[in-house]
Structure formats: C-alpha cells, structure tokens
C-alpha cells in the first residue's frame, strides 16, 4: 500500500493509477474468495482421503488416490435413502403448502379490499420479530393434545396456513400489484369470478415470483434443522439434516466419511443456487429493502 502511495506522483494518467488500484483490489478479493470457497474444496479433499491421510494434516494436501467409495460407505452407514425420502416428503409438502397459502393471501392483499387488511399484515410482521420459543412451546403442547407429536404433520400442516410465509406474501403481493388492473377488470366484465381471475390470470402471469418462492422454500425446508429436531421424534421420519447429526454422534471421528455425507446433503442446494443465482440474489436484496 505505502509503495503505491509513494510512487503515485510518477504516474501521469489517472487511468494507470486506476489499473494499480484495481489490481490490488482484485488480489484482496481473490484472497477473500479463498476464505469463502476453500473450505468447500478442503471438504471434498477430506472426503476423498483415507483415515491415515487424515492424520497427516496439510502435508497430504490431495489424497494420493481419491477414495470415491467413501461416499458409498457414508451412504451405507445411515439409512440415507430413507432420510432422503423423508426430506423430500417434507420439502415438497412445505413447498406446496407455502405456495398455496402465500399466493392466496397475496391476492387478498394486492387485489382485494377488506376490513383490517393492513392491520393484520402488521400483526404478522410483529409476530415474526418475536423469539420463536414463545410460540414454539404452546404449539408443541397443542400438537401433543391432538396427537400429532411423533408424526410429520407439525412439519407440514402449518405451511398450508401461511407458517413462515410472511416474506413470500410480501414478495408476491408486490408482484401481483404490478399486474395491470385492466386485465382483472376486463375479466370481471366477461363474467369471471375472483377465483378464476386468481387461477387463470394471476398465477400464470406470476411464474417468476412463484419460482422465487419455490426456490427459497426448498432451501429453507431442506436445510431446516431446528423444526425436525423438535417435532420429528420418530427416527423413521428423520430428514437428512437429522440423519447427518446422528452420523456425527455415531461416527464423529471419521471425518472423511462425515465430510462425504455433508457434501451429499449440501449438493442439491449448491446446484440449485448455481442454476438460479440471479433469482436468488434478487430475492435476498428484496429482503433487505423490506426493512
């Protein structure tokens, strides 16, 4: 840094100085990227090592012979495919439920006038700011009263009633508002009712926004650990996140297998993120603007 400052008078054009500054910046950014990305690579190298290579730290940087069968052993040590099935059941149900409850509510907020509309929305935002435990304990008790503990229902049913959907309702509402009034009004003149407008006009036109919601819900439900930890007491219902934790408690020392299992659970979200980066980043920005 001091060097560039000292040399500065020598450069005649601003352009050359700019090039220097940008090169330094790129070096810093590459170093930062390294911090964010290298752990993933180290995870992969670890997953491919033999137990003996693990103990040698960085003196064995790459595995001498990649142990691809570590992935097979990791999968075989736990009922991986049962966990996968359970994860998919919950993830797909939550996605369906959230899209149903978020789109209907967003339609009510964007296109219909009803009493107390805006007040209810504020109430929902306020409940979101509360520590989750205040709500979690009573709902846990309520589920036990109606015999839902030990089933998957507490993980699935709330999604159909807007559980965790506040942000999506907000996002969809903005999108619906952008759809011109003329379209809905002419449909009403043609004799369509609101349900028909909703299903035949709104939903088809809102595919990008619905895709964003689907993507975020997938990530959230797939990665969720706390909900399943509380509600899925039956090991037959465990999701991959819970399965990975049980892997750790059983085979904690076998880091190569643990990293292999972790990679498998990370892979779907990483792939989805790379495929739909733009949708994702736009969605995140939206969260920030909300505040």
């Amino acid at each position: 840094m001091t060097e560039t400052v000292l040399k500065r008078p020598k450069y005649r054009s601003r352009k050359r100085r700019r090039i220097i500054v940008h090169s330094v910046l790129h070096i810093v950014l590459v170093l930062c990227s390294f911090v964010f990305v290298f752990p993933f690579l180290w995870m992969l190298f670890t997953a491919l090592k033999t137990p003996a290579e693990l103990l040698k730290g960085i003196s064995v940087f790459f595995p001498a012979e990649p142990q691809w069968q570590n992935f097979v052993s990791a999968v075989q040590k736990i009922p991986f495919f049962m966990y996968l099935k359970n994860s998919l059941i919950i993830v797909l149900s939550v996605m369906t439920g959230t899209i149903f409850s978020a789109t209907t509510a967003a339609y009510a907020f964007a296109k219909l006038k009803w009493k107390g509309r805006d007040k209810w929305f504020i109430v929902m935002l306020a409940t979101m700011m509360l520590p989750i435990q205040v709500i979690l304990i009573p709902t846990f008790v309520m589920y036990s009263w109606i015999g839902w503990l030990g089933t998957r229902l507490p993980m699935i049913v709330p999604a159909f009633f807007g559980g965790g959907a506040a942000f999506y309702i907000f996002l969809l509402r903005q999108f619906f508002k952008g759809i011109p009034k003329e379209m809905t009004e002419s449909a009403i003149i043609d004799g369509a009712n609101h349900w028909q407008i909703f299903t035949k006009i709104m939903l088809p036109l809102s595919k990008p926004a619905i895709m964003t919601v689907a993507l975020f819900t997938f990530m959230g439900a797939w990665n969720d650990y706390f909900g399943p930890l509380i509600f899925l007491s039956n090991p037959d219902h465990w999701t991959l996140a819970l399965g990975l934790r049980s892997f750790q408690t059983q085979y904690g020392g076998q880091y190569n297998l643990m990293m292999a299992a972790s990679i498998l659970i990370m892979l779907p979200t990483l792939i989805l993120f790379f495929l739909a980066q733009k949708t994702f980043i736009e969605g995140i920005k939206f969260t920030g603007i909300k505040g």
Binding site: V37, L112, W114, P131, I137, H194, S262, L270, I284, G291
Partner: protein
C-alpha cells in the same frame, strides 16, 4: 338509491372474498401465532409437564430462575457475550466486503456469488465442516497456523475444545456467512445516486472521504435493519452450539436458547421453559427498543432534500 345499495353490496362482497382468500393464512396467524403467545404467558405461571394438568404457581418459575438458578445466569451471560461480539463483527465484515465489491470492478457478480455461497448450505453440514477445520490436532486451521505457533513458541490453540475460545470459535464460524448481509449492503450501496459521488469528486473528495461522508451514511437504513435482525437472531443462538460443542466445554457455549431447549425437550418443564421464553421476549423487546432509538442516526435518502 338502488345504485348506492349495489355499491355497498359489491363492497360487502369484496370484503367477504378478501377474507376468504386470506383465510388460510389468517387462520394460521391466529391459531399458530397469536393464540400461542398468550398461551405461553399462561404456561409461564404454571407447573406443567404435559402429563398432568397445569397447576398455577404464580411467579414461582420466574423467582426460581432469577434467584436460584446458576445455569440461567451462566447461559444468559454466554448469550450476551455472543450477541455483543457477533452482531457488530458481522456488520463490520459484511459492510467491509460490500465496500470492496462496490468499485465497478470486473467480475463483481462472480465474487458476490462466491462470497454468498456459504449461505445456501445446511447449518448442520456447515458446522460439521468447521468442526473439522478447527480440529486442534490435524485440522486445516491449526495446520496453517503452525509456522506462527512455532515462531512464537506457543501451544496450538484448542478452539472449540478450549473454554476460553469456544464462544469465539463459534462467532468466527458465523462470519463465514457474512456474504448474506453483504448482498443486502451491496444492493443498498448501488442504489446511491451517482450524482452524489460526482459532485463530491468535483470538490476533490477521494475514496475514503466519499465512503465516510456518502456511502456509509446512506447505508445506515440497511445496516440498521441487519443490526435489529442480527440482535434478534443472535439472542436465539442454538444449533451451532448444539452440533459443534454440545454446550461445552464446561458449559462455555451453553446459550440461553440451549438451556430453554433442554427445559422443554429433556425436562418437559413447559412452565419453566415458557417463563424463560417470556424473559427472552422481554429482553429482546427492551434491546430492540433501545436499538430503535438509534434510528435518529439513520439517514433516509430524500428526508432532507
């Protein structure tokens, strides 16, 4: 006359249809959101183990927690330590990264994607990965620090196995996800009108001055938003400690939400757990209200002009 009644009729109809469309969500909000809040307040004044009916004990749960429960204070202390360090540090790193990227450089999108990457993975997988990276004997971090340890002739750090460092280890791991707030900061920075910078440049302001007098003040709304959300989230820190340290060593990472979880899931002491939840609620509320007073230092673009 008849026209007016048709209009009111239509309005009434729309009111009904509005409620119908909102009803799934509204039902959920009332039954799974609002009602439980009051229910947990009621539980907090009872003794309830989910087997026999709740018995009302007045303020006893609160009294026990405040006067006769060392773990309550210990876990609260741990949590406050976490909040006080993790929240400001997260903001500094997030804003710092955003400032680096806000320079019209080539490949900004690629860097942004890479920085954001850790945010899309499961917390369990992330924690297991860092458990391995921080592993004191042959984990990557101590291996990389080895020359430093040798240079200063010191013992390798124990990270999550050392009760003096365990909380800090979890906070450092948390910084790996700083790219999440960075995306929001960056979006806020890019919304700042270019004309502001241009007139500053005419006045001879360099990068540092532009950052201090334009960028940072105009970012205060998003910093403020992340600050509040960070506070609320950090008070509830649980999963990373549950996976990485199980609250140890010597309860040094036994956070408030962890103790609450044990009261609820292990002891099935729903009354006591509810009292803890309400204490947490009040604490978060007080801290948020204090934080909201900082709002007067927040610049909203368009306020002044």
């Amino acid at each position: 006359m008849s026209k007016a009644t048709t209009v009111t009729k239509l309005k009434k109809q729309e009111n009904l249809i509005g409620y119908l469309f909102a009803s799934p969500w509204l039902f959920g909000l009332i039954v799974l959101g609002i009602f439980p809040i009051f229910m947990s307040l009621f539980f907090s004044f009872t003794n309830y183990n989910m087997i026999s009916a709740p018995t009302i004990v007045g303020f006893k749960n609160y009294e026990i927690l405040f006067t006769n429960d060392d773990l309550f204070w210990k876990s609260l202390g741990n949590t406050i330590y976490h909040v006080v360090i993790a929240v400001p540090l997260g903001i500094v790193v997030g804003v710092g990264l955003a400032l680096l990227l806000n320079n019209k450089i080539r490949g900004m999108g690629v860097y942004r994607t890479l920085f954001y990457l850790p945010n899309v993975v499961s917390v369990v997988a992330m924690t297991l990965l860092w458990l391995w990276l921080f592993q004191p004997n042959f984990g990557l971090i101590n291996e990389l620090f080895k020359p430093l340890y040798d240079l200063f002739d010191m013992e390798p750090l124990g990270w999550y196995l050392d009760q003096k460092l365990s909380k800090l280890t979890l906070i450092l791991m948390g910084l790996w996800t700083a790219g999440g707030s960075m995306v929001i900061y960056l979006a806020a920075m890019q919304d700042i009108p270019v004309t502001l910078y241009e007139s500053a440049e005419i006045d001879g302001a360099g990068w540092l001055k532009k950052t201090i007098y334009i960028t940072l003040p105009l970012m205060t709304p998003s910093i403020f938003f992340n600050f509040i959300m960070g506070l609320i989230g950090s008070f509830q820190v649980f999963t990373i400690a549950y996976i990485m340290t199980s609250g140890g060593p010597s309860r040094s990472t036994y956070y408030y939400a962890y103790y609450l979880f044990d009261k609820m899931m292990i002891d099935k002491a729903m009354g006591m757990a509810s009292a803890m939840a309400w204490i947490l609620l009040v604490m978060v509320l007080i801290v948020t209200i204090f934080a909201l007073r900082l709002n007067k230092y927040v610049f909203y673009l368009g306020d002044e002009s």
